[in-house]
Structure formats: C-alpha cells, structure tokens
C-alpha cells in the first residue's frame, strides 16, 4: 500500500447537460499524506466541490481511481459508499445545515444514531466533541439561538463526533466575518495538529488558505502549483 492516505489516479468527471458533455475534471492525479491539511483554491465553477465530493464518496468519477485509506471508492455502489462515509468522513459545509428543531447536542448526536453504542457512551462522545469546539456550555441551545460562528462549530462537532480519519470542508468560512473565520480556521488547525485529522478545505479566501500546510489550484480541469505553505505563513496569518 502506498504511504498516501488519499490517492487519485487519472480521475475524470464529466457532467451531461441536454446531451452536452461538460468535462469538469480531466485526468487528475493527487496524493494526500496522512495528517496533511490541503487547501483547494480555484475560480468558481472550476470543480473544487466536485473534487471534494469524489474524495468524500458522495459522487463517483466518470473514469479513474479514487482510493482513500484501503477503500477503492470508484468500485463501490451507493449503499457501500454511504456506509463508508458514516465511519470515515466528516463533512463541513458553508451553510452549516443543522436541524433547527434539535439542540446543539442533539445535532452533534445525529451521526451516532447510525452506530450501536450505549447512551452513556453516546453522551460522552457528544460532550467531548462539543468541548473540542468550545461549545459545551451551549449544548442545549437550538441553532436559532446561536451565532453563525457557533453554528459552524456545532457542525464541526457533528463532523468529528464519529472520529473520522478525514475531514472535508467546502468553504467553511464563506458565510462568516473575518474574526469568526479566524476562530473556525484555528479550530481546524487544532483538529489537524492535535487530533491528527487529514483535512481538505475548499476556500476562496487567501487568508484562509494560509492556514493549510499545502495549497492546490484547480483550473480548467487540472490541478496546478502544488506549493508548500510554510508553517511560518500560518503563524503570520493567525497573529
């Protein structure tokens, strides 16, 4: 097995609109090491979300191979992919997508409904996840009683409560002000360094990009400029 946690080989993704081929990804190769923090940038419509969805098993490539850990996603059917996602990926979206009628703690607990475990353990996991994102004192609040930044923290707690190896974030700060964005990005850094999560984050914001260890640019169906972001850049951006 290759040392890379994620391995994409010659991945093509083509959409069809009224019989018209819309090629989005044209033969991508990508390796992501365990514990990496990859920032994915690129113009709107360049296929960043599409790439993230392929890695997260939400979609399958038109051709090519997507391996995450020891799972070959391109060979799995929808049922298998869904089961795989529940154990291996945590998603964070721009719009949080919390269930408005459930409290913060209940929202975080949702993914655990798919697992067989005692209610005590479930509770413990929820509290731990909320502690990590610093919202343990708001656990009985409903989404409409929380600020945007707090909602995104709850969404992050929901993404990590099953302890997945991979976290995929699609513009997680796209709807937040600069200060709150920094807090959320700092939290992602903590998950990456302290909890050793492999993270891939899509963003438009150059300041947000500085938080990653590695930056990729997607344009016209290909990945460009695989430059290393220095640890110093992270320090500079967060100071």
């Amino acid at each position: 097995m290759s040392t890379a946690e994620i391995e994409l080989r010659n991945v093509r993704k083509v959409y069809y609109k009224e019989r018209l081929e819309i090629p989005v990804l044209e033969g991508l190769d990508l390796d992501v090491a365990t514990g990496d923090f990859v920032v994915l940038m690129g113009p709107s419509g360049s296929g960043k979300s599409t790439l993230l969805h392929l890695i997260g098993g939400l979609d399958t490539p038109t051709s090519g191979a997507v391996r995450v850990g020891d799972a070959n996603l391109e060979r799995m059917n929808e049922r298998q992919l869904t089961a795989w996602r529940s154990r291996n990926v945590g998603f964070i979206f721009q719009m949080y997508h919390l269930v408005p009628v459930l409290t913060a703690a209940q929202n975080v607990e949702l993914p655990l409904l798919l697992f067989r475990m005692s209610s005590a353990e479930r509770r413990q996991r929820v509290i731990t996840a909320l502690n990590v994102v610093g919202l343990a004192d708001r656990m009985d609040h409903r989404p409409n009683q929380l600020s945007g930044g707090q909602e995104q923290r709850v969404a992050i707690a929901r993404a990590i409560v099953t302890d997945p190896r991979l976290i995929l974030a699609d513009e997680p700060t796209g709807d937040l002000d600069a200060k709150t964005s920094e807090e959320i990005l700092g939290l992602l850094n903590v998950l990456n360094t302290e909890f050793e999560k492999t993270i891939i984050m899509v963003t438009h914001d150059p300041r947000a990009a500085a938080h990653g260890k590695r930056r990729l640019h997607l344009d016209k169906g290909a990945l460009y400029s695989d430059e290393r972001a220095t640890v110093r850049a992270v320090a500079a951006a967060s100071s």
Binding site: V99, V101, L113, L114
Partner: protein, 389 residues
C-alpha cells in the same frame, strides 16, 4: 435520542401547519367512528332479523287497514302439514302511552299462545313463558323503554291508548327484552285487549298484521307466494314481506344511508390524502438540504425513505387519535339511547369502527408520504447542496 424523537421534533417545525393537517384527519375520523358504528348496528339488526325467518302479512294498501282475526286460521290452513310454517301470531296496534307523558310507545297486542314461538329471539325463559301464558295482564318491554321509566320485571304499570276508544289498561311486566332491535317495543296479550274492547262496547278482534315464523328461508318464499295468491282479489288482499324487506324499506326511507356514507367517505379520504400529501411535500421541500446532509453523514437512502414516510404516518396517527378518542368518549357518555329511535337505542361505539378509522388514517398517511419519501430516496446530496451556492 432516538430517530422517533427526531421525527416528533420535526412535526413541531411548523406547528400550525402540522395542527391543521392533523385536524384534517381528526374531524373526518371522528365522524367515521360514529358513522361506521351506525352501519354496524344496522347490519346487526338486519342479520338478527334474517335469522328469525319471519314473514309479515298485512292488508295490501296499508298497515292501518285491519285484517279479520280469522285470517290466522286461513293462513294456517295453507300449510296444514306445517311443512314450512311454524306458527302465526296476530298483532294489533295499541298506541299506548304512560299517563301524563307525550311519547306514544310502540305497544302491540300479540296472540298469547304463539307469541313466545314467533318471537323466540326475545328468549323468554320457561318461567317467563309460563307467567305470560297464565297472567292476562302480562307484558314484555324493551330495555331502553324499561330504563326510561324505571320498570323492572314484576312491576305493575298503566298505559292509556291514543287511539279510539282510548282504553286505559293495567299491565304486569314479565320480562325486559335485551334485543337491540326491540329495545323500545312493548308487547302484551291480544286476548286482554279484545276482552277490554268488548267490555267498552267495541267488539273488534281484528289485526294490523300477522307475523308468521317460518322454518326455512325457502319455506318463507313459498308461503309468501301462497298467501298473497290465496287472498288476491278478495277484500282482504294481502301483502307479505319478510323482516329483511322491512329493514330495507326502513333504510331506503332513510335514503340508502350506508351507501351514501360510503361514497362520502371515499371523497373525504381522497381530500385528506391531498391535504396530507401537500403538507408532506411542502415539509420535504423545506428540508431538502437537511436530508441531503443526513445522507452525507451516512444515513442510507432506504432509511431516509422510511423517515419521511414515518413522519407522514405519525402525523396521520396523531390526527386520527385526536378525532377518534374524543368522538368515542362523546358517544359513550352522551345517552344516545334516550333518543328512543328504535334500533338506535342500542347504539354503541363499535371497536371495529375505531380500528377501521385508525387504519384508514394510517393508510392515507402512508399514501400521502409515498411521493415525498420517494423524492427523498432518490435525492442526491451533491445536487441538493449545489442549489445553495
């Protein structure tokens, strides 16, 4: 937390809409319980009447035109071997009422010797039959009437007739009848009426109707033809009808109630299905992205399908219970038997009605949830989320 809890919380998302939709279930289900109970009752009455195999013979044009007493012999002579015929019981309308009250009781004078045979469904014990035969003032009374006036077996009472010559007679109760279809009927001996009429100067031993207990349904048809043929073109031309025909005439007079109710039920069920389906579709559309996230998290499509369906069914169940429970309590607590409308006196909430109403609601809830559940099943997370950006 369980998925059921999540479902219940979901119903609170738009409480007014959920409440209105639930009401769309509860009101019709409340009516269903009452209506189905009524149909069950009518069916029971018809069924028990059929079992009794009774044929009623009355004057062709009207029940109010009296037939001579000798008719009984003539009818009996039509089947001397008693091949089809069991017994014949002549009856005369008395139209009695309790003094100082307004309601005329369905009070009938019946042949003393054959009444216990022809009305075997009254189920008189040997002792009661003996008392009926030995005491001239004996009477049997339906339970609803007995309850209304506080009468018990052994009690003495007085009725005054509302038809000429306005006799006032004394009676002694030998039995309270428990039959649903005879809950407010009063029977007494015809020889007592005859003698009392004679004493008042009216020698008129005629009858309104002769009830014939038959041995078989086939025998009933045979006798029916024989009797009407025998008296055709005579001053006593008759019309014979079995009790079922009587019940059918009664329901026809009420405008084919069960059929009408069925048609209305179908329309109503269709309307609630539309209302509930619309609600479920709206609530699904509002939550497309949320359900997409459920799928991203790892909920299988089949599970999402079940969740949407369960929510719709739950709403239907809550609505149905909110209608059926109060309706049943109302029907149980309000003394409907006091209406004294014949068979209605034995009205009770049929367990079948409750089961059927709730089953209909569940079915409608299920059907209403099918389309949104199917939409949720085939929903693709990537497409649903893209619509945000």
């Amino acid at each position: 937390m369980t998925i059921t809890y999540v479902l219940m919380q979901n119903l609170k998302r738009n409480p007014l809409r959920a409440a209105l939709t639930a009401t769309a279930f509860s009101l019709p289900m409340a009516v269903f319980v009452a209506a189905i109970s009524l149909v069950v009752l009518l069916a029971n009455v018809a069924a028990s009447a059929a079992k009794e195999l009774r044929l009623g013979v009355h004057q062709k044009t009207s029940l109010t035109n009296l037939l001579p007493e000798g008719m009984r012999r003539k009818i009996e002579a039509l089947d001397p071997q008693k091949e089809h015929l069991h017994a014949v019981c002549g009856m005369r309308w008395f139209g009695g009422r309790v003094p100082d009250t307004q309601n005329t009781l369905t009070s009938l004078a019946a042949d003393a010797d054959t009444f216990p045979i022809v009305y075997s469904d009254v189920q008189m014990t040997e002792e009661e039959t003996a008392r009926w035969l030995s005491e001239k003032t004996a009477c049997v009374v339906g339970f609803a009437t007995a309850e209304q006036y506080g009468w018990k077996p052994g009690d003495r009472l007085t009725l005054e007739s509302t038809v000429p010559p306005y006799l006032t007679l004394e009676f002694k109760i030998v039995k309270v009848m428990q039959n649903a279809e005879r809950s407010s009927v009063f029977y007494f001996r015809r020889d007592y009426l005859e003698d009392s009429l004679k004493a008042a100067g009216f020698d008129d031993p005629r009858c309104n109707i002769f009830w014939i207990k038959c041995k078989t349904a086939e025998g009933l048809r045979t006798l029916q033809q024989r009797i009407d043929a025998a008296f055709a073109n005579s001053p006593e031309e008759t019309k014979s009808e079995d009790e079922n025909a009587f019940a059918a005439n009664f329901t026809q007079a009420a405008g084919n109630l069960p059929g009408l109710m069925q048609a209305m039920a179908v329309v109503v069920v269709f309307i609630i299905a539309l209302v509930a389906g619309n609600t479920m579709m709206m609530s699904f559309r509002e939550r497309i992205r949320e359900l997409a996230v459920f799928k991203a998290i790892g909920f299988q499509s089949s599970r999402i399908f079940a969740i949407v369906l369960a929510e719709s069914t739950m709403l239907a169940l809550i609505g149905a219970l909110a209608g059926v429970i109060p309706a049943s309590l109302f029907l149980l607590l309000v003394p409907i038997r006091n209406l004294r409308m014949g068979p209605i006196s034995s009205f009770e909430v049929s367990p079948l009605a409750i089961v059927v109403s709730i089953a209909i609601a569940l079915l409608v809830g299920l059907v209403a949830g099918l389309w949104p559940a199917y939409q949720a099943h085939r929903l693709r997370t990537v497409d649903a989320l893209r619509k945000v950006a």
